[in-house]
């Protein structure tokens, strides 16, 4: 009896865990971190921002502003396609991934003092860029109450005008942070900064350039910002192609620009044979006699770089965008110096800024061709300086033209300069109406798509989300 009891108790005792408390205190994930270095967070933010934007606003919407003839699942015709997953994916990327992570980086950097001002300035500049994207896509957006969940569990929506003015203040703040950096002992953010490798001079110029971009949108409705604009143009901005703001895709497998990935995932791995993306009639017309036509396109069997109609994918007979454009290491371009030069040309043509509109126009075109034909990393095709000079010299002098003709000429070239910069391109045609983009065939709307519908995910959770406008209702900044 006693022996059996001992046997049983020994067996049972072996099954009992030693300490209940130790066994229960195991609820911390060993594979995650409670803090993260900005050099680890910023790369994710930058790459996620770029990749999502390229795949949603790029590969799905490049036919809205008609840089290409057609895309898959395009919202160009308006209706529900301008919402749904397109909106929720992009909204979620901006509000749930990019902006809050940048806020955390900014918070920690500010708390660390002025030696971390560079990190804070990068975070604020990127936040400004993300908010600019958000308002460019959706119009009125949560801004002043956004990202403050404890105080504002259901953020209000701010008018686009207020958002744009708020972004200008953010960019001023970013520049102030950089100006207050100590000469030495700053946090080394070179690893995390995939754009400029920690070069804060470039970041200050980028912040100012973005400010100019925003002020140009504001100016479309309110010329009282001209003083701000003039002042900004007096400060350093991105003025050289070597300082162009862009994310360089390494091009190695797994890190290829999504423009090529979509062709690889669903096609042959070459747009020239898969025939997904080809020039629209507008693009084809503007590129007539332009060396960029051969730079961007391969000809079809019909010859003459025949374009495809809007909504129609190119065939072998028609022109397709070349593998020089759609390639693994194509950079995602955020801001080129030509953009600012075109703004200066436009302002000069409007008499809002001192300067020679024609000279600035030619300078901007030259900068564009130099970037795409010479500076852009990884190019498979290039342009010689003679080709560029010859083309620019062949452009008409716009100074004798009427202001409207001048603005048309500047606007058309700027449209080409925003090539493959999705939101910048869309904003350009909405702001300037140059070139005139018609509603695509079969549209449920009467004009080019002007806005996306709000994210259904946000709408389901935030009762303050306004009713969706029709997708051909212009943005506030449009005239």
């Amino acid at each position: 009896m006693k022996r059996l009891l001992i046997i049983f108790l020994c067996t049972a005792a072996m099954m009992i865990p030693l300490s209940c408390a130790d066994q229960l205190d195991i609820n911390r994930n060993p594979l995650t971190a409670s803090k993260a270095d900005p050099n680890a967070v910023l790369p994710f933010v930058i790459v996620q921002y770029s990749n999502r934007t390229v795949t949603e606003i790029g590969t799905r919407m490049v036919d809205v502003y008609q840089h290409a003839s057609a895309t898959f699942n395009s919202p160009r015709g308006g209706g529900g396609a301008a919402g749904g997953f397109l909106s929720s994916n992009q909204w979620g990327m901006l509000y749930v991934t990019v902006l809050p992570n940048l806020s955390l980086v900014e918070r920690d950097a500010r708390a660390a003092g002025i030696s971390n001002n560079n990190v804070a300035a990068i975070a604020v500049t990127l936040k400004a860029l993300a908010f600019l994207d958000a308002t460019s896509l959706f119009g009125d957006i949560p801004f002043s109450q956004a990202l403050r969940a404890e105080l504002f569990p259901q953020p209000d929506y701010d008018r686009q005008e207020d958002v744009l003015r708020g972004i200008v203040i953010m960019l001023d703040d970013a520049m102030d942070l950089i100006d207050a950096l100590p000469a030495t002992g700053t946090f080394n953010v070179a690893q995390g900064d995939l754009i400029y490798g920690g070069n804060m001079t470039n970041w200050r110029a980028l912040a100012n350039s973005l400010k100019i971009r925003v002020l140009m949108l504001l100016r479309n409705k309110d010329t009282s910002v001209d003083a701000q604009l003039t002042a900004a143009l007096g400060e350093p901005y991105i003025s050289s192609n070597t300082r162009a703001a862009m994310l360089q895709y390494p091009g190695n497998p797994g890190n290829q620009n999504a423009w090529l990935q979509i062709v690889t995932a669903f096609g042959t791995g070459s747009n020239e044979t898969t025939n997904y993306f080809g020039p629209s009639p507008v693009m084809r017309q503007l590129l007539q006699d332009d060396p960029r036509l051969e730079l961007y396109c391969v000809d079809g069997t019909a010859g003459g770089y025949k374009e495809s109609d809007i909504g129609v994918f190119p065939t072998d007979e028609e022109a397709r965008y070349s593998n020089n454009l759609i390639r693994a290491n194509l950079p995602d371009i955020w801001l080129l110096p030509a953009e600012i030069t075109f703004y200066r040309a436009e302002l000069a043509a409007k008499g809002a800024l001192a300067g020679d509109a024609n000279a600035l126009y030619r300078q901007a075109v030259t900068e564009t061709l130099q970037f795409w034909g010479q500076t852009i990393p990884g190019a498979q095709k290039t342009l010689t300086t003679d080709q560029i000079t010859s083309f620019v010299n062949g452009l008409p002098d716009i100074n004798p033209l009427t202001q409207a003709q001048q603005l048309k000429a500047i606007g058309e070239q700027q449209y080409l300069a925003t090539f493959w910069c999705p939101i910048v391109s869309w904003n350009h045609v909405r702001r300037t109406k140059v070139p005139a983009i018609e509603a695509s065939p079969g549209s449920t709307i009467t004009t080019m798509l002007k806005r996306l519908l709000y994210s259904p995910v946000e709408r389901a959770a935030n009762p303050k989300t306004p009713d969706d406008m029709l997708t051909d209702v212009p943005m506030w900044f449009e005239n």
Binding site: L4, L5, I7, F8, T11, I16, P17, Q23, L24, D25, N27, R28, N29, P30, L31, T32, A33, S34, A36, D37, F44, V47, Q48, N51, R52, T55, E56, R60, G79, G80, A81, G84, Y95, V96, L99, P100, L104, P142, A146, L147, A149, Q154, P155, L194, N252, P253, G254, N255, A258, Q261, I262, A265, F266, G267, T268, T273, T274, P456, A460, A461
Partner: protein, 1034 residues
């Protein structure tokens, strides 16, 4: 009072002075020789008595002069035996078919008389599970149990089947029941490392390894009262599996051989059209894939896809048969079993070998099971069991979209000869067959991209029981579940849309350690009262780890080695959780017709905050056998039991929900899964979680009341069992969506309530009970309503699961789970789509809920006819109500593949279902022609509006059909073979009724792991199986 005391004193004196002796013995069942615990042993004419212990032994003090012992036990005839002068009196009790109160296995493996249970319980016996043997035991339960909904996802070998018990109670996906095998919880997770919508490889969940040949019985514990002793793991119900044990043989070991061979074919084939060829706009295109809008087939000369030959255009009516093949299933089981007074054992080996209907699809499973028990003495027994299950599969079909490996029923272009697609690869590794640069030869997909899985599973349990005295016993039980699941998902170089090749290696490990220490005590007070008490302690620890490697850009095309890839992205997952439980039960019976049971369990969970990790779950139940209580001797109602219960169970949560963390990022995502890997240009990526962690999280609580009745009529010829239940599931642990503009996507809090109400009816009738001919009929009926009563304030709906094109399953307050989608712009009165007058097409409207995805009711009809040695068994499974969206039907229509798309193809095509708006709020019949029939069918889902392909999912199936013949023993004429049974068996024999065209209405995109009911997309077609079975007992 003084008189009474004096009387007691005198009696005590008399007893003390009387001559006494002890008699002992063992009580066994005359049916199988098994010992019977809990038998009442009474000295006739006195109040002196006892009950047998766990081994069937008893010891009773009787007068020296002897007396008569009365042995009584529920389900057996009472037996009286004069003790005489003997000191050992053994008894062999004969079952009493008129009492029909069977012993059932309840929570924690405790055996109880069914008449004592105050809650409903459904059981299935071994022989019912193997009428038509199944690789996945869940499929064998279809139609046989009330209160459950069982859905087989597809016809994939090794695919998943989902079971939910009494509807959905959780909004967070915790609706899969707990599986308990021989008293030990096992892992039933369905791990899915691929996207459930973009290329879903649906591998079965953990319970699929349970081998029907090794199962003695399955009991489904449905209500909270039945599962209360499992506390925080019990909210979704419990399935208790008891495996077969060795029994005392007829002087020798019993050897059983059970062999089946079965052949599988498509259960349902779309009604294809055979008038029009591949192409578009009546123009033939030999490269057409999923496009049947070419010319009318009249024998014109065309270039043939695959060969390039000039041939006469023709329809290949059965071209799907050149792809899908006849599947074959072999199930062979051999089992050795024996037992005697000291011990027992059973060794079973089962080999399952399947080839699927998909080319190159194979599954091989070897199940080895061994259990043994030893009685070391009257006081100490031990038992252990081990099962080792090894499964290898390949050729798993891919469901969903956006994955080049998806090949759907719309791929069978009517003018395409699939015989031309073999061979699919040339000697240089290039793909042959399809000319399109975007589409893959389906034989290439099946043979070169094999979706391999190797699953090694070990289940072990050990139990020791110590009974120091008859009334008291202690049980220590340990169980361990180990699963190593290795997968290789490949795209060979040359796969179109994955031209550079890639592969994913998953190594998933799950383990679970479970310990129960249980003390039981039972005591009989006089002849009327019976007390059973149980107390115990539970320790449960679960661990999960997963190592995944995604490799891209291969050098050698078919070498799936990371060193052969230019890009490798490793990721790791890990989670562990611990649960402690202390539980108890007290059950008091009066005269065997009234039993009151109360239980309580306190759990401590590692997944909850320290201040809230302790929580208590109570239950109470009452069983009343009214026929005994009222002394009814009616032949019409010979047995009647009423039952009632109230109970509370719950749910803790997943590990690691409480902290705010930064997570290392493996990829930055993009549309169409166009992702960027990290490191990116030498940089790692970290990202903050997008969920606000909870404060003071509490466990979910489910409170259930249940009433029921079990009535037996006409000398138990007819048995009716009815249950009604109502439950409320509060404090749901939900990551509720919050405005993303806050910077977060979700916040985890206790919120929301789901209420359930249901009725379950089971009617079992021996319609004919003749000497030679018997007909037994069972009808099972289940009606459940699981209604989302509330969500968080301001939250309109919560996403449960999502397909493409905005088709979602959502939780909306006041309703059952809803199908939610973009709708047609429609006439609000008639619901008919409003036609665009410019083009004659339907238009998209707002997003809206379209109705419940849950069935209104399910019914099962089981009939067994036996004549002499012949038995014919049938099971019909009927599901009524609920919606399903079929993307396959949408694809069939858009591709012009099916018969309805051939109607009026060449004439003026007007959408007669549509209406035109008059502009004043009224509508008229549509008379605007569409440009062509092709345009109409191609544009049935403008902007994702899915109304046209949402169907009532109701169906009725002849689920099982079995005909067996047991050869009479006199014909066998030898003692070597004791029993020989041969039979024909079939599963999914016929679709008797369905409203969904072309597909199996049961198909499910999401698999068992999530609650995505009502959505189908490119499911591998389900199968009809017919085969033969031989069962031998030596």
């Amino acid at each position: 009072m003084r008189k009474i005391l004096l009387l007691i004193f005198c009696c005590s004196f008399l007893f003390a002075e009387a001559q006494e002796r002890t008699v002992n013995g063992r009580v066994t069942s005359a049916e199988d020789g098994a010992t019977l615990p809990g038998v009442n042993v009474l000295l006739k004419g006195t109040a002196s008595g006892t009950v047998t212990d766990a081994n069937g032994n008893y010891r009773l003090v009787i007068p020296d002069g002897g007396g008569t012992l009365v042995f009584s036990f529920i389900g057996f005839r009472s037996l009286e035996i004069p003790a005489g002068e003997r000191t050992t009196v053994d008894a062999s009790l004969v079952p009493d078919v008129t009492q029909l109160s069977e012993v059932v296995v309840t929570a924690l493996g405790v055996e109880r008389q069914s008449r004592e249970l105050g809650y409903g319980l459904s059981g299935v016996k071994s022989e019912d599970l193997t009428v038509s043997r199944e690789a996945n035991i869940l499929n064998a339960l279809q139609g046989k149990v009330t209160g459950v909904t069982i859905t087989q996802s597809s016809g994939n070998l090794g695919g998943s089947t989902k079971i939910i018990i009494r509807g959905v109670s959780s909004l967070s996906g915790r609706n899969n029941p707990l599986w308990v095998v021989d008293g030990v919880p096992i892992n039933d997770a369905q791990d899915n490392t691929t996207s459930r919508i973009t290329g879903n490889r649906d591998f079965a969940g953990g319970s699929a390894v349970i081998n029907p040949d090794d199962v003695e019985s399955i009991n489904v514990l449905k209500g909270a009262a039945a599962t209360a002793l499992y506390g925080s793991r019990a909210a979704a119900g419990v399935i208790v599996v008891t495996t077969k044990k060795g029994k005392r043989g007829q002087g020798r070991a019993t050897v059983t051989v059970n062999s089946s061979v079965r052949f599988d074919n498509l259960f349902r084939v779309p009604e294809y059209q055979n008038e029009y060829a591949g192409g578009a706009n009546f123009k033939y295109d030999s490269t057409a894939t999923a496009n049947n809008w070419g010319p009318r087939i009249v024998g014109q000369q065309v270039t043939e896809l695959g060969t390039g030959n000039r041939v006469a255009l023709q329809a290949y009516k059965d071209n799907y048969k050149d792809f899908y093949r006849t599947g074959r299933t072999l199930i062979n089981n051999i089992a050795f079993a024996d037992g005697n007074e000291k011990g027992d054992y059973r060794l079973s080996v089962t080999s399952l070998n399947q080839v699927g209907i998909l080319p190159n699809a194979e599954l091989d499973r070897l199940t080895t099971s061994f259990n043994a028990g030893m009685k070391h003495s009257d006081k100490l027994r031990t038992r252990f069991g081990i099962q080792y299950i090894s499964t290898q599969s390949q050729g798993t079909g891919v469901a969903g979209a956006n994955d080049p490996n998806v090949f759907n029923l719309d791929g069978f272009v009517r003018s395409t000869n699939f015989k031309n697609f073999k061979p699919w690869i040339d000697e240089n590794g290039n793909q042959l067959g399809f000319a399109s640069p975007f589409d893959n030869n389906p034989f290439w997909l099946q043979h070169e991209n094999k979706n391999e899985r190797e699953d090694e599973r070990f289940l072990g349990n050990f139990e020791t029981i110590y009974s120091p005295i008859q009334e008291l016993s202690f049980t220590a039980r340990l169980g361990y579940d180990f699963d190593q699941d290795n997968r290789l998902i490949t795209n060979r170089v040359g796969t179109r849309s994955r031209a550079t090749g890639d592969f994913t290696i998953d190594k998933i490990n799950r383990k679970q350690l479970n310990v129960d220490l249980i003390a039981t005590y039972f005591k009989t007070f006089g002849s009327d009262y019976n007390l059973k008490m149980l107390g115990g302690f539970n320790y449960n620890k679960r661990g999960f780890s997963a190592e995944t490697l995604f490799s891209q850009n291969l050098s050698i095309p078919e070498l799936f080695n990371p060193s052969n890839a230019l890009s490798n992205v490793p990721t790791r997952g890990f989670a562990e959780q611990t649960l402690f439980g202390a539980y108890g039960e007290a059950s008091l019976s009066y005269k065997d017709w009234a039993t009151l049971s109360v239980t309580g369990r306190n759990d401590w969970s590692s997944t909850l905050p320290a201040d809230n990790r302790s929580y208590f779950y109570p239950s109470a139940s009452l069983a009343l056998v009214i026929t005994d209580a009222l002394g009814m001797k009616s032949k019409i109602l010979n047995y009647g039991k009423l039952r009632a219960s109230v109970a509370q169970v719950g749910n803790d949560t997943n590990p690691y929900q409480l902290d705010f963390n930064f997570i290392p990022a493996a990829v930055a995502t993009g549309q169409y899964s166009l992702n960027q890997n990290f490191p990116f240009n030498g940089r790692l990526g970290f990202v903050a979680q997008n969920r606000i962690p909870p404060i003071n999280l509490k466990p979910e609580r489910q409170t259930t009341i249940e009433f029921g009745a079990e009535l037996q009529f006409l000398n138990s010829r007819i048995t009716l069992d009815v249950s009604y239940f109502s439950s409320s599931n509060k404090d749901q642990i939900l990551a509720i969506p919050i405005p993303q503009s806050t910077g977060f996507a979700t916040q985890t809090i206790n919120v929301g309530e789901v209420v359930q109400e249901g009725v379950e009816i089971s009617l079992d009738a021996k319609v004919i009970d003749g000497k030679n001919f018997k007909w037994n009929s069972i009808v099972n009926f289940t009606h459940n309503e699981s209604t989302v009563k509330s969500l968080a304030q301001g939250t309109e709906r919560i996403l449960i699961a999502s397909e493409f094109n905005n088709i979602q399953v959502v939780a909306v307050p006041g309703r059952e789970f809803q199908l939610f989608t973009t709708t047609y712009l429609s006439d609000p009165v008639s619901g008919r789509p409003i036609i665009n007058p410019a083009n004659g097409l339907r238009q998209s409207g707002p997003v809206a809920t379209r109705g419940s995805v849950m069935p209104d009711f399910t019914m099962g009809f089981i009939n067994a006819f036996s004549y002499k040695g012949f038995t014919l068994s049938t099971t019909i499974d009927w599901r009524s109500g609920g919606l399903i969206h079929s993307a396959t039907v949408a694809a069939l229509w858009a591709s012009g593949a099916t018969a309805e798309t051939a109607v009026n193809r060449e004439g003026t095509f007007i959408d007669t279902h549509g209406v035109l708006a008059n502009g004043d709020g009224t509508f008229r019949e549509n008379d605007i022609p569409v440009r062509s029939a092709q345009t109409f069918w191609n544009n049935l889902a403008p902007s994702g509006a899915a109304d046209a392909t949402i169907f009532d999912a109701s169906f009725a199936k002849l689920r099982e059909l079995g005909l067996s013949y047991t050869v009479p023993s006199h014909i066998l004429g030898t003692r070597f073979i004791r029993q020989l049974q041969v039979g024909v068996e079939g599963r999914n024999i016929a679709l008797l009724y369905a409203k969904v065209p072309h597909i199996d209405p049961e198909a499910n995109l999401f698999g068992a792991g999530v609650d995505g009911f009502g959505v189908e997309r490119a499911a591998v077609p389900s199968t009809r199986s017919i085969g033969f079975n031989v069962r031998l007992t030596f």
